[in-house]
Amino acid sequence: MLSGLMNLLRACFRPGSEGFSRTGSDAGGRQDGLLWYKDSGQHLNGEFSMAVIQANNLLEDQSQIESGSLSSNESGPYGTFIGIYDGHGGPETSRFINDHLFHHLKKFTSEQQSMSVDVIRKALQATEEGFISVVANQWSLSPQIAAVGSCCLVGVICNGTLYIANLGDSRAVLGRAVKATGEVLAMQLSAEHNASIESIRQELHSLHPDDPNIVVLKHNVWRVKGLIQVSKSIGDVYLKKAEFNREPLYAKFRLREPFKMPILSSEPSISVHHLQPNDQFIIFASDGLWEHLSNQEAVDIVQNSPRSGSARRLVKAALQEAAKKREMRYSDLKKIDRGVRRHFHDDTTVVVVYLDSNVVSRTSTAKFPGISVRGGGINLPHNTLAPCTTPTEISGT
């Protein structure tokens, strides 16, 4: 009760010193060098905090938070949608997901008039099919698009239920308070599909019994066909459809033997969780974060720091760890340009979603203006030699 009141007060009296407009539904984030952040915003069920650090020349991580109506018509159901899309081989697939997945989800929610596992599965499938047709259309002009893909982590909070869908190795972690001790424990909500996990390798072997080289240890890292660490993704069409695994695709992506069955899967792992009053927050992040922080370390950082800027704090903690591993100073790591920066850490996206009220009354839902924010970054086209931008306002939608 009291904490709910405090949150309300906090929401009303937030300091305006952060230097950017926070009113309206389109309040974007800030870009500061390679860091993009939105320290605090309001979703239907509480606050959120978001941060992205870029390492690649073109940001491959894409992300979004959408709160309000989850269907094409404004009659609801209402809730919050979070997406983390960690691209590989280029930014095309993750951008495509960012542009299409939520629209598909709204369309299927309208058709079925409710949120469900089936709606999420269909939205992901439609997105995958959409991207495959993009590859088919562009194949003759830019065949390398067949070797671009993306992990895809989705969270939907709707009517006290949390749906988590995942393909790849991004991760959602819940911070749940233990009443007796007051501790906040980390609970991983998403299943992961990385060949570094033994059960994933076993699964791949059982799906491809005739191929002893379905997973190969390369540079001390397990890779599917020696090429890719994840076993599920959106895109990566060259490992799903044999007709795109041929010249003029680069030789390093071409398999020696033609395949009949898709090597990578586009079937998401989806789980349903009923939110409890002691569920405090959920951390959604790409593997750039989890490479450096354990689930409990991340939950502790969020629990022990102010809400505003918690995502940025997680990103900083991960970069400090990355600097330590590379035997250099954090302050120096931050000076390295995008592109070269990829040798020191990965693109990293973090969204922290606080769960202040799992049950929202109809009146407050109707008053909520809706919000749509996308994680930013510097995305100059190829061959552009413009200098890095100074901190500027960028639109969040």
């Binding site: 100073r329 120096d332 040798h343």
Partner: protein, 140 residues
């Protein structure tokens, strides 16, 4: 264009260093001697023979280092849990660093990258080569 005289000079210097008798010219330190705080304004790379190099941050903007890093990614992948190892031996790396320190002209830098790429392909194509023979190729 780079003069023939300069090229010959480069090649001599290179051969001399490859002989391995030359006194260390750069900052290599041994693997386990770096307990102190990292140097400000520097980053760290290791050579394949486990020598540690503390290199000024601005060297990351040179094409030679960018090429070496890409080459390292191809050879060893991106290390998730430790420092960067460049796929060349300490003698070669010392030479690279000394060239950058002396602000060699762009042509020399290009020649160096070309020779690196050639050696890289030589080494990659000879799949049976042992790590010691690779080191000889990298180091000339």
């Amino acid at each position: 264009m780079i003069s023939a005289k300069r090229l010959i000079e480069m090649a001599r210097k290179w051969q001399k260093m490859a002989a391995g008798k030359r006194k260390r010219i750069s900052y290599p330190r041994h693997h386990n001697l770096h307990s102190s705080a990292p140097n400000k304004g520097h980053f760290v790379v290791y050579s394949v023979d486990h020598k540690r190099f503390v290199v000024p941050l601005k060297y990351l903007t040179t094409n030679v280092f960018k090429e070496l890093l890409n080459w390292s990614e191809e050879e060893f992948g991106l290390p998730s849990n430790g420092p960067i190892t460049l796929p060349c031996d300490s003698i070669f790396l010392e030479y690279v660093i000394s060239l950058i320190r002396e602000h060699v002209p762009e042509e020399v830098e290009k020649a160096l990258i070309t020779s690196m790429v050639t050696c890289h392909h030589l080494a990659s194509s000879s799949s049976s080569s042992s790590s010691s023979s690779r080191m000889i190729i990298y180091g000339f």
